[in-house]
């Protein structure tokens, strides 16, 4: 007998979400969407629980989570940093900004700093091409960022 350990509040939340979709296995993507919206990521235990509640194999849940880049199994940092690598940002040096962020934070894209403060992801266009290159920290957007700005931006959140 294998045991999945989870806190009561998490179990209840996942059960509620699954119930709101009639515990229908066909709704697994919608369920995962909501659950990730709450927890920020989809750890293995949560996927096991979703599979159990929807009565589908956990391999299928993981198949979906690993297929769509939207879903992640890595927890987000307290301040998630997203770097736009859309065409406009890219040609105006977003990659150099990204490299500097990686260097300063000591993590790669998709990772979280050991203290849990920052996580780093890339995205394609936030619709602010006029401000290229753009990065987001949480909800806040920074425009015309150069590698020199990176240190100060991070310092705001330390």
């Amino acid at each position: 007998m294998a045991v999945i350990k989870l806190s009561e509040s998490k179990v209840n939340f996942v059960k509620e979400v699954c119930k709101s979709f009639n515990n229908d296995g066909g709704e697994v993507i919608n369920v995962l969407h909501k659950v990730q919206g709450e927890f920020g990521y989809l750890p293995a235990e949560i996927q096991e629980l979703v599979a159990k509640e929807l009565n589908i194999p956990v391999s299928r849940v993981y198949g979906i989570v690993s297929f769509y880049s939207f879903f992640t199994m890595t927890p987000k940092g307290e301040h998630p940093i997203s770097v736009c690598l859309g065409t406009a940002c890219y040609v105006r040096g977003a990659e150099k900004v990204l490299d500097e962020l990686k260097r300063q934070l000591g993590i790669n894209v998709g990772e979280v700093t050991p203290d849990g403060k920052f996580s780093l992801t890339c995205l394609r266009c936030v619709g602010a091409c006029g401000l290229a290159p753009v990065i987001e920290v949480g909800e806040k957007v920074y425009g015309r960022v150069t590698p020199d700005h990176v240190k100060d931006i991070i310092a705001e959140y330390r």
Partner: protein
């Protein structure tokens, strides 16, 4: 009906027929890779992913995958134009560019469908040099996953999820890193895999293969301190011949026994002996439960479920933890054989348990796992030491420069080699319950059967049921083969929608004749049917066809066990089951 023209041949087909099927009907060969069909078993895999089966359809700009394109009225198809052949070649070259070129040591070499395709297309070099995928290898007691070789045909995923409803395997990741794996890329042993091995049976390449125990067995045979004995499962004798070019359904019982002696086994015994023993135990248990039930005891759990099939046992341990007290507690024939060989027989022969090695020849990969279950060992010494599949035995026989065709027909050794026709039919779906019925009927009614054949229990339908009249008492029997069918039947029972007295379940389509350790059938379900017919022919040719009339079995009870389901039997021949399902526990 609609009219199509394929390679200038006019063909009439039913609407909804694919180009591939229409072509096959007309005798036109279109090569395939991911496509797989097991006719009559509701298994058709056609993801249209590999593009090997592409054909030219007049009026269409792009080539069409024949396996996934339906025929349309007036369609004109060309299956072997220059354009088509070039496209096929490019497709296979691209697949090969991300495939380890280790055919020399690959377990599927000679049986590999990708290898055959490369030869068929005359590919002599791989023009594309690029990145190669690398994944962690994984080995369970039964199955090796080497998914560097995976071609993403998804046959295994389809088999695992739709035919078996095991759900251990799924396609994961995307693009270049896409592969078939268990959840979180965990090991198979940590997944809900039941080790039925049907994924191995359908894998076109070497991505999934069986654990090879031949060298361990030969080491034991060559160890002078050890007495090495062997047992052969019912279904092996009707399939082994295929590996030596004999037609499917050739019975090679005697030749197999002779070949095993030439390999150096000290005694050649038969799992059929233990199958007869299983019937004594399981049949007695069934009658016991039915009698109690009829006497008004409501605590009795019915139907009794057969427990011979280790894939099925794993399956209910994972999926029906609330019903663990329903299956028969009788061990499988393989494990009964091991338990008796290492007690009764070893004592009789004056051989220490530690110096006795029991080897099984099985049509099955789950048996490799079953013999390693802790409860089937005494002080760390397993009742059955090694399991070889039918394929592994064929390899050994060939290595020793023996040809099964030239072998004389020899008998099994006694006493663990004597068996009845009831035992051999264990190898086909419906066989175990028919064997049990033959004995249970006579014990229950006290009458001799006029006719021992219960043909109503035979057949290839996935779920079957029949009423058998036990001299005025109607007994309802259910049969399922393939685990999706077993699940469907069990769910009906759990919900109380249908009542049975007994249900037989075999994990593999067709029963053990279609087992994962048998020679590869490459989707030809006729082979499974031929093996099944051979099983019943073998039964028909046996002088004794009821388990309780096996004289060696009677002697075993007189000399050693006492009575069926008695104290000694319970100790040696019965087992218990475990909850392997996942449970959610609240932490903090």
């Amino acid at each position: 009906m609609i009219n199509v023209t394929i390679d200038n041949k006019q063909i009439q087909v039913e609407e909804g027929t694919t180009i591939l099927k229409a072509a096959r009907k007309a005798g036109i060969h279109i090569p395939t890779l991911c496509y797989f069909e097991l006719a009559g078993m509701k298994f058709e895999n056609k993801p249209g992913g590999c593009r090997v089966c592409v054909v030219e359809v007049e009026g269409r700009r792009n080539l069409a995958p024949a396996c996934a394109t339906d025929c349309m009225e007036g369609m004109v198809v060309h299956t072997h134009t220059n354009r088509v052949i070039n496209a096929r070649r490019t497709v296979v070259e691209l697949i090969l560019s991300d495939h380890p070129a280790d055919c020399l040591v690959c377990p599927k070499s000679g049986q590999c469908e990708l290898q055959s395709l490369a030869q068929y297309l005359g590919i002599r070099e791989i023009p594309f040099k690029g990145e190669q995928s690398h994944y962690r290898q994984d080995m369970s007691p039964s199955i090796i996953r080497d998914v560097d070789k995976c071609v993403m045909c998804r046959r295994c995923e389809n088999m695992c999820n739709n035919i078996q409803t095991v759900g251990a395997l799924s396609a994961i990741n995307r693009g270049f890193s896409a592969v078939v794996a268990p959840a979180f890329e965990q090991d198979l042993v940590d997944s809900p895999c039941v080790m039925c091995g049907q994924c191995v049976q359908v894998c076109p390449v070497g991505a999934l293969s069986e654990v090879d125990d031949t060298r361990r067995v030969m080491a034991a045979i060559n160890n002078p301190k050890k007495t090495v004995i062997v047992q052969t499962a019912p279904a092996t004798r009707v399939a082994l011949g295929e590996e030596f070019g004999m037609p499917a359904g050739t019975i090679v019982t005697g030749q197999m026994a002779a070949a095993l002696r030439r390999l150096g086994f000290d005694y050649v015994f038969d799992t059929d002996f233990a199958a007869d023993l299983t019937i004594m135990e399981e049949g007695t248990e069934l009658l016991g439960r039915i009698s109690k039930f009829m006497a008004g005891d409501k605590s009795v759990r019915l139907p009794i479920l057969t427990s011979c099939c280790p894939g099925w046992v794993n399956f209910f341990e994972h999926n029906f933890p609330d019903m663990l007290d329903v299956p028969s507690t009788a061990k499988s024939p393989q494990q009964m054989f091991g338990a008796i060989a290492k007690s009764y027989w070893a004592e009789k022969m004056g051989i220490n348990r530690e110096d006795l090695v029991v080897v099984s020849i099985m049509p099955c990969l789950a048996k490799k796992y079953e013999c390693k279950r802790e409860e089937f060992s005494v002080n760390g010494n397993p009742d059955v030491d090694y399991v070889l599949s039918t394929r592994e035995l064929a390899r050994l026989i060939k290595q020793f420069n023996l040809n099964l065709k030239d072998m004389p027909s020899e008998d099994y050794d006694n006493p663990l080699g004597e068996s009845t026709g009831a035992a051999v039919i264990f190898g086909a779906t419906g066989g175990v319950i028919e064997a049990a019925t033959r004995t249970a009927y006579e014990v229950f009614t006290g009458k001799k059967l006029d006719k021992v054949d219960f043909t109503e229990l035979r057949g290839m339908e996935g779920i079957r049921d029949a009423w058998v009249d036990f001299n005025g008492t109607p007994i309802h029997i259910g049969i399922a083969h393939g685990l999706a069918n077993a699940r469907a039947l069990l769910e009906k029972v759990r919900e109380g929608k249908e009542q049975f007295h007994a249900i037989e379940v075999m994990a593999c389509p067709g029963g053990c004749v279609g087992g994962a350790g048998q020679p590869y059938h490459h989707g030809n379900s006729e082979i499974i049917k031929k093996r099944t017919e051979a099983i019943y022919r073998e039964d028909l040719g046996k002088p004794i066809r009821k388990s309780h009339e096996n004289l060696s079995i009677q002697k075993l009870y007189q000399e050693y066990l006492g009575e069926p389901c008695g104290h000694k039997s319970h100790e040696l021949l019965h087992t218990h089951y475990f909850d392997k399902s996942k449970h959610v526990e609240i932490s903090e």
